[in-house]
């Protein structure tokens, strides 16, 4: 039902304006740059190499999305049918894993699955050096790392979709003698098809601008995504016009994908009847243990390896050195500490937390008004508009903001922070809106109407009725935004101008200074902060009583 009141739109307008600016600013700058050298765009489009890059990027993201979704399916089916101890915890863990920064996956993978990684050390011990698993530095390593980061997304999305759907039709199908397989393909799949497609699209869009994973785990200079090539042309080739043209090309492709899939998967009907989960017993109890263990075995090892490595040298000698360095701010190795005051690591930790806090507070504020407005006006256009920033890769957004920043009349530490904040919001706003929208749509209009008949105006009704109902979703959106901002590397690296160093940027630099132990210690801190924020975000019951 639509409310004719302009209240929600008025509320959302400033937020929409900021969102559009935050994203148009860098894209506009890239656009201008690409067209300032007219030949470049034509050169990029006619270059066969551009199309090869596109082909590889599509293959890499398509395969990653397909594997994630297919793998997640059996888990989602089980988790949406049975309730058992640890089910909620695992779902929460998958949610948190979604916000894991790619840099931690890279670090964890090298330490855990590398040629000299913990897995191979263990294998070597067990088989006395006979068996060796060669996992990294190949195309399959790229896919594996992408599935690692995105399996939880698929698992969480499909489980949620299934759980919020009554299972009477499945029960009927089984009663009529159709087997589990037949029931799945004939009854369940067609009904959750939209969610499966949405998960696929989302993961595809995540992997499309993949850069760090492709560059470090691919192991072959032929494995390049569009985003990696944009980075290369910008920062090592000094061809800003050419990279701007390529960035524009990449944006166009992503935007088309986003719009095509976005219109299809606008899932606006919210079912009011959820299913009742069965208790596990007998064989299903064993299955619950096996499936839970599989998820933990998939997600945990790389992160536990990072924890281990932060306390041990690569030869397995225990040392607290990395932790002491963080606290003392000392620069080990050559010479004495030259940056006086608090150390680089501490500064990065403060920066990271402060930037994440400010950007996610602002994001949630804006995203809530946008979500409420979209829900009340029944708009497809507004959510789609706010999803558009997803089509901007982080390298592109960093490049755009670097152009903007180069043209600022005044450049100092404050503008550097501002640019980083804005660049982070390009990443956080789409996800915050995505998180808040279902919550906003679930709030029945009749409640607002009831408040109005009791003499409240729309504004008060919003404040007293809708806002509290939206609160759990706001917490979730905050947690997501916080974690995303916390893990952002590319744009910060491009924009910080060496002044704003955040934890993931420092991790990136430490890996490049072959200080894996220091990088691991910082990664543990990053993980700990993200988990703490997620724990707070998950405290609210998102499936509120009204639905």
């Amino acid at each position: 039902m639509k409310t004719r009141d302009g209240f929600y739109l008025r509320q959302a307008l400033p937020a929409l304006a900021v969102t559009v600016t935050v994203f148009l600013l860098p894209i506009g700058a890239v656009f201008l740059r690409a067209f300032s050298a007219p030949g470049e765009l034509a050169a990029v489009v006619t270059d066969r190499y551009t199309w090869r890059l596109l082909l590889f990027t599509m293959a890499e993201s398509g395969l990653s999305a397909l594997c994630s979704v297919v793998l997640a399916m059996p888990f989602a089916l089980f988790f949406s049918r049975y309730s058992f101890r640890g089910r909620r915890a695992l779902l929460a863990m998958s949610d948190a894993a979604f916000a894991l920064p790619a840099i931690l996956a890279v670090l964890g993978f090298v330490i855990c699955y590398g040629n000299n990684g913990l897995l191979n050390k263990a294998l070597g011990l067990i088989t006395q050096g006979r068996a060796k698993a060669s996992i990294l530095y190949s195309f399959k390593a790229i896919i594996l790392a992408h599935v690692y980061l995105n399996f939880p997304v698929a698992f969480s999305l499909i489980t949620t979709a299934l759980s919020s759907m009554p299972d009477t039709e499945e029960k009927a199908s089984r009663l009529l003698g159709a087997g589990e397989m037949k029931t799945f393909f004939r009854v369940t799949l067609p009904r959750i098809w939209q969610s499966v497609l949405a998960a696929f699209t989302l993961i595809f869009l995540f992997c499309f601008p993949s850069f760090l994973i492709v560059m470090t785990l691919g192991g072959n200079p032929r494995f390049y995504t569009l985003e990696a090539e944009i980075y290369r042309r910008t920062y090592t080739d000094a061809r800003p016009a050419s990279s701007a043209a390529l960035a524009l090309f990449s944006f166009a492709v992503m935007a088309v994908l986003l719009l095509v899939t976005g219109y299809g998967s606008q899932d606006r009907k919210v079912s009011r009847k959820a299913r009742i989960l069965e208790k596990t017993k007998g064989s299903s109890r064993i299955w619950a243990i096996v499936l839970s263990a599989l998820i933990v075995l998939f997600i945990a090892p790389p992160m536990l390896s990072i924890l281990y490595r932060s306390f041990f040298t690569k030869d397995g000698v225990f040392t607290l050195k990395a932790w002491k360095d963080i606290i003392s701010g000392a620069r080990p190795g050559a010479g004495t500490a030259f940056s006086k005051g608090i150390g680089t690591s501490m500064r990065a930790i403060i920066n990271s937390i402060a930037i994440a806090l400010v950007s996610s507070l602002a994001t949630v504020k804006m995203a809530s008004s946008i979500a409420m407005c979209s829900a009340r006006r029944n708009s497809t256009f507004i959510p789609l508009l706010t999803m558009l920033p997803m089509a901007v890769g982080s390298v592109t957004s960093g490049l755009g903001y670097a152009f903007v920043s180069a043209n600022l009349p005044l450049r100092n530490i404050v503008t550097a922070y501002l640019m980083v904040l804005l660049a982070h919001m390009v990443v956080t706003i789409p996800f915050a809106v995505k998180t808040l929208l279902p919550g906003a749509r679930k709030i029945p209009v009749r409640l607002v109407l009831a408040a109005k008949t009791l003499g409240k105006d729309t504004k008060e009704a919003y404040r007293l009725v809708e806002k509290p109902l939206l609160a759990p979703y706001r917490r979730r959106a905050f947690a997501f935004s916080f974690a995303l901002s916390l893990g952002e590397v590319n744009a910060t690296l491009a924009l910080g101008e060496g002044k704003v160093t955040t934890v993931p940027v420092l991790i990136y630099k430490m890996i490049n200074q072959y200080n894996y132990q220091g990088a691991s210690a910082l990664a543990v801190i990053l993980l700990a902060v993200a988990i703490a924020v997620f724990a707070i975000g998950e405290t609210g019951e998102t499936d509120n009583a009204l639905s």
Partner: protein
């Protein structure tokens, strides 16, 4: 109330943020902004000794910005344009020098005469050499491999998955390796790369990430410098990692610094360059594991672990640009 609180919180955070940033930035004093490659600025880099010594000797505060690999350092200055804060760029190698020339001002340091004249590559003194090195493959003696004895040896099946290369497009070390193969192998360089790209464990995007994987034990052979073992001897007291001399000859690389066009701190920048050519020479040998350009400087004892090749190559930057393009066409496209 809640609103007021959250506004306050944001303000406090913003303030502490800026505060945290400026703790190190003391009151108005002579200052200089230097952009250097990551390894130089890193925990093990030369910056830890060279910069404090310079600050102490001159009273000039150095704002050191770690700007990525050498190639990226140039591009950072280029992207920032006339608004750049950079006064001195440090670590530009001779083979990528042409990418930087138009960004730099000439400086005829009074100490140019102390530089081994064969190393001076820019007649206009825009880029002033401060140290140099020789590319070589470094191997891990604890890995059970047959020690390769030539570049061509590396293409052998037994080294499949055991070598870490570096991308010539993204790193000056990669470009150096490419020119080495070009100079040493003649027409065979292309087939060497075709085989090696498939055989190598990985082609890293920069020296530091490649060397990081090597010291993590991911592969026993990596492209680096003849002087790399010096670092391990000096700081880790181990001779585990050794450089390999190949009969085909080796490629030389020269690292240089230059003053950025339009700098507002020309005087401080000159002092910094002079310092690099004089007092810093020993520090550079110690902490950067590269040969000082002043050949009269006495090298630390650990340099005995850096083998000296008989035959060496130098390449002009024009040729490097051309060959990197040929490599890209042959290997990537």
């Amino acid at each position: 109330m809640k609103k007021v609180l959250s506004v306050c919180a944001v303000l406090v955070i913003a303030a502490s943020c800026i505060f945290a940033q400026s703790v190190a930035e003391t009151q108005e004093q002579k200052s200089l902004t230097v952009y250097a490659y990551d390894t130089f600025c890193g925990d093990w880099g030369a910056a830890g000794s060279v910069i404090p010594a310079f600050e102490e000797a001159t009273g000039i505060k150095v704002n050191l910005v770690s700007a990525g690999a050498a190639v990226e350092v140039i591009n950072k200055v280029r992207l920032e344009g006339s608004g750049t804060e950079c006064d001195v760029i440090l670590g530009i190698t001779d083979d990528i020098a042409d990418r930087a020339y138009d960004l730099l001002e000439a400086y005829e340091s009074p100490y140019i005469g102390t530089i081994d004249q064969s190393l001076v590559f820019d007649a206009e003194s825009r880029l002033i050499p401060f140290d140099w090195g020789t590319f070589a493959f470094v191997y891990d003696t604890q890995a059970e491999i047959e020690v390769p004895s030539s570049l061509m040896d590396l293409t052998d099946e037994q080294y499949k998955g055991k070598v870490i290369l570096i991308d010539p497009r993204t790193s000056s070390v990669g470009a150096g390796l490419l020119m080495w193969t070009y100079n040493a192998l003649g027409d065979n360089w292309e087939s060497w790369w075709k085989t090696m790209t498939e055989n190598a464990l990985t082609t890293a995007s920069g020296w530091s990430s490649g060397y990081g994987l090597f010291t993590e034990g991911e592969a026993p052979i990596v492209i680096s410098y003849t002087t790399s073992p010096v670092y391990h001897v000096m700081w880790e007291d181990t001779t585990r990692y050794q450089a390999l001399l190949f009969p085909e000859g080796h490629e030389i690389t020269i690292e240089a610094a230059g003053i950025v066009k339009g700098t507002k701190h020309r005087e401080e920048a000159e002092a910094f360059i002079d310092f690099l050519l004089t007092s810093a020479q020993v520090d550079l040998a110690n902490a950067n594991s590269m040969y000082p350009v002043n050949s009269t400087v006495e090298l630390p004892a650990a340099y005995d672990y850096a083998p000296v090749p008989e035959k060496t190559f130098r390449t002009t930057e024009e040729l490097t640009g051309k060959i990197v393009q040929m490599w890209t066409d042959a290997i990537i496209k």
